[in-house]
Symmetry: C2
């Protein structure tokens, strides 16, 4: 994690179930090489000890690249393993309780699918909000109906903290979500299922950075 | 939870997957009516928010009966939901880290399958040790080979804290594990799959209390 305001431009979620044999550390390493600003370990089925080991293996690399390492759902694992923070969904621990257990400077991310949820997450202490699914996604079948760009943009504008767009994002649409106000772009399949994960991350990062420049008119 | 040294005589684990429709609160209620001294919510697949709700629903009843309410694996859920403690296995958070996050008077239980694991768990701050599988069990397919009564007894004698026997325990063998030095008996199927869960718990409790009396020569 770098000093100052964390960046979420390219936020890669290391789903290790999509391509057998691709482990959390392997995905994270490639994503970091490709320029990821944040890595989230998302794994609802592995034992906690394995998640702790994954954090321990990835954290030194994340620091080397100045990237954040976030653990999905398991606030206890994030705390024990020394990750930079945790991300909770609407079915995980309540954001307010997660924040209490994970005081700043730890990072707390919270998923939201509506303006109401996003505002509540911000009130409850989120540092950033994961907003989605923006587009339809095969990676998370329970993610609900896509919001579309317009609703995403309304949510992003309704809160005063960064929003990370998630759901069906790839090289063809990341520029649009940045233009719509996203503080960053979270991807799973776009990196994890790529033949060359580092190259896929690098291409996404470049597109995101370019989109931000043209959005800001610089 | 009662004042003084907690009792673990009958320790019921609320596996809600064995009999469809039997929820954690329903199993816990029956177990408490039957005299359970401790309830453990064990659920590796439900979202954390559901576990928190189960704790919230069961905790008032557990207090009414002077019983402990323990959450398996999720130290964060135990903390946030206000359970009496957590139980970690060898694949969960390391016991020492769990203890650090869950200071006394919270209860920390740790699973062990050998004298070495049991001694380490005690050093790492466990309040009791779950020792098993004593007999073969169909409830936890990954539980390993049964220890048998003799090895169980050696483990129970090797540590200075209560050991709770687990694995294949039922009305026919609970007296033997108490005689072998168990501080308590943990059951899953023996209660959860019974037609009348409260009656099953009551019969187990009676057998355990009788066995303890005759073991102590009173």
């Amino acid at each position: 994690m770098t000093d100052g305001w964390p960046r979420y431009d390219l936020y890669v979620i290391t789903d290790a179930t999509l391509i057998p044999g691709r482990t959390h550390p392997e995905i994270a390493r490639a994503a970091l090489e490709g320029g990821a600003d944040a890595i989230q370990i998302r794994d609802k089925s592995s034992p906690a000890i394995n998640l702790c080991r994954a954090v321990a293996e990835i954290q030194p690399q994340a620091r080397k690249y100045g990237a954040l390492l976030i653990v999905n759902d398991r606030v206890d694992v994030a705390l024990v393993a020394g990750a930079d923070g945790a991300h909770v969904g609407q079915q995980d621990l309540p954001a307010r309780e997660a924040r209490r257990r994970l005081p700043r400077p730890a990072i707390l991310g919270v998923s939201a699918g509506s303006i109401e949820e996003a505002k509540k997450a911000a009130r409850d202490g989120a540092d950033y909000i994961g907003v989605g699914p923006v587009f339809s996604t095969g990676t998370k079948p329970d993610a609900g109906a896509p919001l579309g760009l317009e609703t995403f943009s309304a949510i992003a504008r309704a809160v005063g903290i960064p929003t990370v767009a998630i759901g069906g994002l790839n090289l063809d649409n990341v520029a649009a979500v940045i233009a719509a106000g996203a503080g960053g772009v979270a991807v799973v399949a776009a990196v994890v299922t790529a033949d060359d994960m580092a190259a896929a991350a690098r291409a996404l990062k470049r597109r995101i950075v370019e989109a931000r420049k043209s959005t800001h008119g610089t």
